[in-house]
């Protein structure tokens, strides 16, 4: 009995573990190693092994000459010019703003869906998922049309602004367009975890709170909000992290000043063929996110302890 239980456990957790090992752990290690190497003359990495035409390979690197093959230079480049750190800060700001706007928009929507009648609820959830049925790039191109200077949206807005004597604004190719695109693409990832959480709330708790004299705001802030926190955190993680690494939206909707760190990483791998520096940037991004997560959970646990006292 115990044996079969053990087998079942491995059968269930084995494939995902194997998947993570092959497609996450090993590539991450390769990337971490690449960060210490030199770029090849024509892109890629400087080879450590030379292969003759006959197919025999010999190691070029040995304990005497390893300094010619491994370096900290790539990390130094990251800190020696402040443009990279500034770009990180800007990307975190973009991703943070996107997350906040998504949360503010998604919470009432998720609440509305969770409180609807069963039949409507399924339809509404379907509508939230519906955009996924068409390709992401097509939807971003649609935004290019909506935000373009000749669209009804832009021209109406500019007519309204003109009434107040404000200069016409250009919506496309701006930081505004980038944030709109980021929010649009990530909104469902905030709605769904929030809905999943809110749907499970016991409505009698709110009745009890009301009986005890709590007003609408107090019922939300003291009951619903704390109970929904796991959903909020899940949504925040699902929005913030992909938004941080996004490069297609700044490329398509952004102006001359909308680059994000994802564009910089893409530039290293595709345009400059500088894999080591691209790896450094990716590692720094991962470490920063993990650091933020650690700080958040530390702050959270401190808060909890205080609460218990």
């Amino acid at each position: 009995m115990a044996h079969s239980k053990h087998t079942t456990k491995w059968l269930i957790s084995g494939p995902p573990l194997l998947y993570l090992l092959i497609f996450f752990a090993i590539p991450s290690l390769i990337m971490a190693f690449a960060a210490f190497r030199f770029p090849g003359d024509y892109g890629g990495l400087m080879p450590l092994v030379s292969t003759s035409d006959a197919g025999a390979s010999t190691w070029l690197i040995n304990q005497n000459n390893w300094r010619e093959f491994l370096t900290l230079e790539n990390f130094l480049r990251f800190v020696e010019d402040k443009v990279y750190v500034e770009l990180f800060i800007k990307s975190f700001w973009y991703a943070g703003l996107t997350t906040l706007v998504c949360l503010v928009m998604a919470y009432p929507l998720a609440w509305l869906i969770a409180r609807s009648a069963r039949k409507t609820r399924d339809l509404l959830v379907l509508l939230v998922i519906l955009p996924f049925w068409s390709n992401f790039l097509i939807r971003v191109y649609a935004w290019m049309i909506i935000l373009g200077p000749q669209s009804y949206f832009s021209s109406t807005l500019n007519k309204v602004l003109a009434v107040f004597g404000i200069e016409p604004v250009s919506l496309l190719f701006s930081q505004f367009a980038v944030i709109v695109g980021l929010v649009y693409v990530h909104l469902p990832f905030m709605v769904l975890p929030l809905y999943a959480n809110l749907e499970k709330h016991d409505m009698t708790l709110l009745d009890a709170a009301q009986d005890l004299g709590a007003n609408a705001w107090q019922r939300f802030w003291k009951v619903t909000w704390p109970l929904s926190l796991p959903g909020v955190w899940a949504g925040v993680a699902l929005v913030f992290i992909p938004a941080l690494g996004m490069f297609a939206i700044p490329d398509l909707l952004g102006g001359t000043n909308s680059m994000m760190v994802g564009n910089l990483i893409k530039q290293q791998f595709l345009d400059s063929r500088d894999w080591p520096f691209g790896s450094v940037l990716s590692i720094m991004l991962t470490l920063t996110v993990l650091l933020l997560a650690a700080i958040a959970s530390w702050a959270g646990s401190r808060h909890k302890k205080k609460g218990k006292k």
Binding site: M31, Y42, Q150, F173, A234, N263, L270, D271, A293
Partner: protein
């Protein structure tokens, strides 16, 4: 709170794998090989080419003549293609790289020498496009078509504003740009934009001298606040719609934009002209991969494309420059007279092909580019 602890690393894992995708992407390129491997007996030619860079009727006629099937895969930028092939993508027979990529491909041992004696139509090629610095004696490559990088513009608007598009000042001089602020895009390409800025300052498009690059960077930074975007993806559409009046881009794309504007009955056309300070020229070349599964079909294809009529079809379709003398008689008259598509001998002297950058030079340009792109106003 435990849930947060769990959720973040998992999401971080997702993100990292997202970034790593650039790295892993080339591996998917081996798909055509995997797909063709089991049925190696089937006659299939794999071409890895620029997007929209061969006329469908040409492909169809080649398929009929060789009794084989052509499978195409596309790239949007040379660096993308080099990155993919350097990472070991296999399965392609023919590739069509731009001049500067020839040496990197040869030195990485990714292509095979051409046996010119098998290609009877080589005689059709214009001697001016043979023996380029990138491949002396055409040991590995033969010219396919070319484009020039120039300024395309909304002819009605420029006439109205009395602006002269025949100098790079149209995208770099703040005094001129003030009149067209927010209506200009430049290529999101470090090599091309720096080349234009270098030529505007009277330097060689291929300069790697730090002081000249610094001057070019200064020129770009002064002009940047007036530009709408760095755009390689959608300037054809923006020009055609009239959202953008001046775009730094490729001659083929400007031809396309003008066709589109005509088809949509716009009250303006898209003009394009070479700049007096000089322009960059990109000659795309046919090469055979070392790992080509079907070199025999590859030779057939190259010889087929060197035929005047076959070669002219691309020019008629996309307005590409044509290095094939025999193609001239098949090219539409209105295309043949466009100076930017068929530069005369005098104009040809001012055209420069971009050379390949190595190691430190590439890193330096990359750094300058990041500074340019992240600079605040």
């Amino acid at each position: 709170m435990k849930k947060l602890l769990l959720a973040l690393p998992v999401a971080a894992a997702l993100m990292v794998s997202g970034c790593g995708k650039e790295n892993a992407a080339p591996k998917t390129a081996s798909a055509p090989q995997a797909a063709s491997a089991p049925k190696a007996s089937a006659d299939v030619l794999h071409i890895y080419n620029w997007n929209n860079y061969i006329a469908p009727e040409t492909v169809k006629r080649f398929e009929e003549s060789c009794k084989c099937k052509v499978v195409q895969d596309y790239y949007g930028a040379m660096e993308e293609m080099l990155a993919k092939l350097s990472a070991g993508a296999k399965g392609y027979d023919i590739i069509v790289p731009t001049g500067f990529a020839i040496q990197p491909l040869v030195k990485q041992n990714l292509v095979q020498p051409l046996d010119l004696s098998k290609l009877t139509n080589v005689k059709n090629l214009d001697a001016g496009f043979m023996n380029s610095a990138f491949d002396q004696g055409n040991k590995y490559s033969l010219p396919y078509a070319f484009t020039t990088t120039l300024v395309g513009y909304n002819d009605a608007k420029l006439k109205e504003l009395k602006l002269d598009p025949t100098s790079w000042s149209i995208i770099f001089d703040p005094a001129i740009l003030a009149k067209i602020k927010g209506k200009v895009t430049v290529l999101d390409d470090s090599r091309e934009l720096f080349a234009a800025a270098l030529m505007y300052n009277g330097f060689s498009a291929n300069s790697t001298k730090p002081e000249e690059l610094a001057k070019a960077k200064e020129t770009i930074l002064k002009a940047k606040p007036f530009w709408a975007a760095f755009n390689t993806q959608s300037y054809i559409k923006e020009l055609t719609l009239g959202n953008i009046w001046v775009a730094h881009g490729y001659s083929n794309d400007m031809f396309q934009a003008n066709q589109d504007a005509k088809a949509a009955n716009r009250p303006f056309g898209i003009g394009y002209s070479l700049q007096k300070e000089g322009n960059t020229l990109s000659v795309d070349n046919m090469m055979i991969m070392k790992t080509a599964p079907r070199p025999d079909l590859a030779y057939k294809f190259i010889n087929f494309m060197l035929d005047g009529k076959n070669s002219s079809e691309l020019t008629n379709m996309i307005g590409s420059g044509n290095p094939n003398k025999a193609a001239a008689e098949f090219v539409q008259a209105d295309i043949k007279k466009i100076a930017a598509v068929f530069p005369d001998a005098e104009a040809q002297k001012k055209l420069t092909q971009l050379g390949s950058l190595e190691g430190a030079q590439l890193r330096e340009l990359n750094k300058l580019w990041t500074q340019v792109k992240t600079a605040k106003k």
